[in-house]
């Protein structure tokens, strides 16, 4: 909980810095900090794999290319151009902020009323879902429970809080994410990769145009 608050505050402050800084390189640095605190948020939620992917993809690859492009174009400080239409932007930002706040409150209330997704169900149903979705055997579940709550704890006498903890722990594991991606979510996964490949081929065909056209 403490981690969530710290990383959340850092994320918000650095996100404000991204738009507040005048020098594009400083903005990019603040954006990197935002990505890091997002990764921190994921870790605080137990999603280590997502955090690692966040750092590798966004902080490690995309932001390096951002910096590269900013440096290559040699963008100076934004002074006059950004000052135009300031009142229109202000109104837009205000409306957007109100909408986002409403959305946030609605989601929080929904989650609160339903007691999260997990609490409502009985222990048996949750264990059954672990077996179905994550393809875990009884042995696996027993092993995980003992790892979390000490030796000798059996699956049948877990409290509902402990079961929630078990599910959260399992969801963060790389192995479970892999199982889900290649069983339950295999279609969306493959479709996404096809879209990426299509984009890749498109880029290559644009870059690879015959040089005489340009001349």
């Amino acid at each position: 909980m403490v981690l969530l608050v710290i990383f959340g505050l850092v994320a918000i402050c650095s996100a404000i810095c991204v738009v507040a800084f005048k020098n594009p390189i400083h903005s990019a640095l603040a954006l990197i900090l935002t990505f890091f605190s997002q990764a921190g948020l994921f870790i605080a939620l137990g999603a280590h794999f997502v955090a690692a992917v966040q750092v590798i993809v966004y902080a490690g690859a995309i932001m390096v290319l951002f910096l590269f492009v900013i440096m290559l174009l040699n963008l100076g400080s934004l002074q006059d151009t950004a000052r135009q239409n300031i009142s229109a932007i202000k109104i837009f930002v205000l409306v957007l902020a109100v909408l986002l706040a409403i959305e946030g409150i609605t989601v929080a209330r929904y989650v609160d009323q339903n007691g999260g997704v997990i609490k409502k169900q009985s222990t048996d149903v949750i264990i059954q879902r672990l077996k179905d979705d994550f393809k875990m055997s009884d042995e696996d579940i027993k092993h995980s429970v003992e790892e979390l709550y000490g030796k000798g704890t059996s699956v049948s006498n877990l409290t509902s809080v402990q079961v929630t903890g078990l599910v959260h722990g399992e969801m963060g594991k790389t192995e479970r994410i892999g199982t889900l991606l290649f069983s339950k979510f295999v279609l969306p996964f493959e479709v996404t990769s096809f879209i990426l490949i299509a984009a890749l081929i498109g880029v290559i065909s644009i870059v690879n145009r015959e040089p005489q056209e340009a001349a």
């Binding site: 020098n23 640095l29 794999f49 902080a59 690859a61 390096v64 290559l72």
Partner: protein, 402 residues
């Protein structure tokens, strides 16, 4: 790990962190000494041999010199980023070693009970992904330092470094996928445990990936033959031209730390970690002797790799920039990608490491020859050099106006 009491975990972790960080720092000193002595030996000179026995105290003298020098901050730099950059490059170099296993286990008695402490700071679930994530951040120190210096030579070095590191991260990450598939885990400890007999060492099964990984590690550490970012003959000092005193020393230390961590990771992933033919049982026995021996084995293997780094540096000339990019994108990347497909298919069909190894080598040879043939056919039919020159000489960005 799960049955250790919390107090023991805390105390042992602190001790391990202290030991490993100090070993890294001392290792850097050792590497500076070794680099100068080995280069001298390769070039048939003596090298530094005046300070202390065999010149062993030379790194300390160097360090004192760096600390006592005036810390110069040039007038025209972006101060915040200029000061931040050396720190940014040192942090990833230091924290990657948090998940690397340096040995098997040593027994400790605590509260009257016997426990086994793994020689590794943290055995986290995402293991190797953590290392990939952190090493991919090393480039920021170089790029930001180069930009903040506000100097054309630094800037060119930074641009080269960023393009190079982004390109070589891909083969670096892809070449280990085959290893992960056969180890069935991302945890570095389990990857080592999967190599418990010599025939299971990953460099035998995944030989092409092994070569790709080593080459990519060289590129990621900015070492010769990939040190275009600091090519002395063209760019004065490259990205650290404007840095002096301890800030320069931090860049220097970070390079050697990256080398050390890179070598340990190569040893853990491909060279069987703490296993050595004939000593497998003793190393895994959980006795004090076994634990220390496992540490020594990792140390020796790593030292060999560090020597290899120096050896290559003083033997090979530097790549040209287009050669570097061609090697990364047209040779290493296809080899890494094919090895993933081949490993997966052959392993499912035959379940034998022998066949995986053989098919990996065959497919790598085939892919390399096909790609090089295609590339040479293309370059004969087209003249692309003029385009490249435009980028360099034409409308170059004005660096000094910010």
């Amino acid at each position: 790990m799960e049955n250790l009491p919390l107090s023991l975990v805390l105390i042992s972790s602190i001790i391990k962190i202290l030991i490993i960080v100090h070993m890294l720092l001392i290792g850097v000193m050792g590497m500076i000494w070794a680099e100068r002595r080995v280069s001298a030996w390769i070039q048939d000179r003596y090298g530094p041999n005046r300070v202390g026995p065999q010149g062993l105290l030379q790194p300390i003298a160097d360090g004192i010199k760096f600390l006592l020098k005036e810390d110069l901050i040039p007038e025209h730099v972006d101060k915040v980023v200029y000061i931040l950059a050396p720190a940014i490059i040192l942090i990833p170099a230091l924290i990657t070693c948090a998940v690397v296993p340096f040995g098997s286990e040593i027994p400790v008695s605590w509260d009257g009970q016997e426990y086994r402490i793994p020689l590794q700071i943290a055995d986290i679930d995402i293991g190797i992904l953590y290392i990939l994530a952190i090493t991919s951040l090393g480039v920021y120190g170089v790029v930001l330092g180069a930009w903040a210096s506000n100097n054309k030579y630094s800037f060119l070095g930074g641009l080269r470094a960023s393009a190079q590191m982004v390109s070589y991260e891909l083969p670096l990450g892809l070449s280990i996928v085959g290893v992960l598939m056969l180890s069935e885990s991302l945890r570095l400890r389990e990857i080592v445990l999967a190599q418990s007999s010599f025939l299971h060492w990953n460099f035998l099964t995944h030989f092409p990936s092994f070569l790709v990984f080593i080459i990519a590690v060289f590129a990621e550490t900015n070492r010769l033959p990939f040190d275009l970012a600091e090519a002395e003959q063209e760019l004065v000092g490259g990205y650290h031209t404007e840095y002096s005193s301890m800030k320069f020393a931090m860049y220097f230390m970070a390079e050697y730390m990256h080398m050390i961590v890179g070598s340990v990771v190569v040893v853990v992933l491909f060279l069987g970690g703490w296993y050595f033919p004939g000593l497998e049982k003793l190393v895994d026995s959980g006795t004090l002797v076994g634990g220390l021996l496992s540490f020594i084995i990792v140390f020796v293997k790593t030292s060999f790799f560090l020597f290899f780094f120096i050896w290559v540096r003083w033997s090979l000339p530097r790549f040209r920039y287009d050669q570097l990019m061609n090697l990364g994108w047209k040779v290493l990347l296809p080899i890494a990608l094919t090895s993933i497909v081949v490993t997966a298919v052959v392993w499912v069909v035959s379940e034998s490491r022998l066949w995986v190894g053989i098919f990996n080598v065959i497919s790598a040879v085939v892919v390399t020859s096909v790609v090089t043939t295609l590339v040479s056919m293309r370059s004969k039919s087209k003249v692309v050099i003029e385009d490249d020159l435009d980028i360099v000489s034409g409308d170059s960005p004005s660096f000094m106006t910010r």
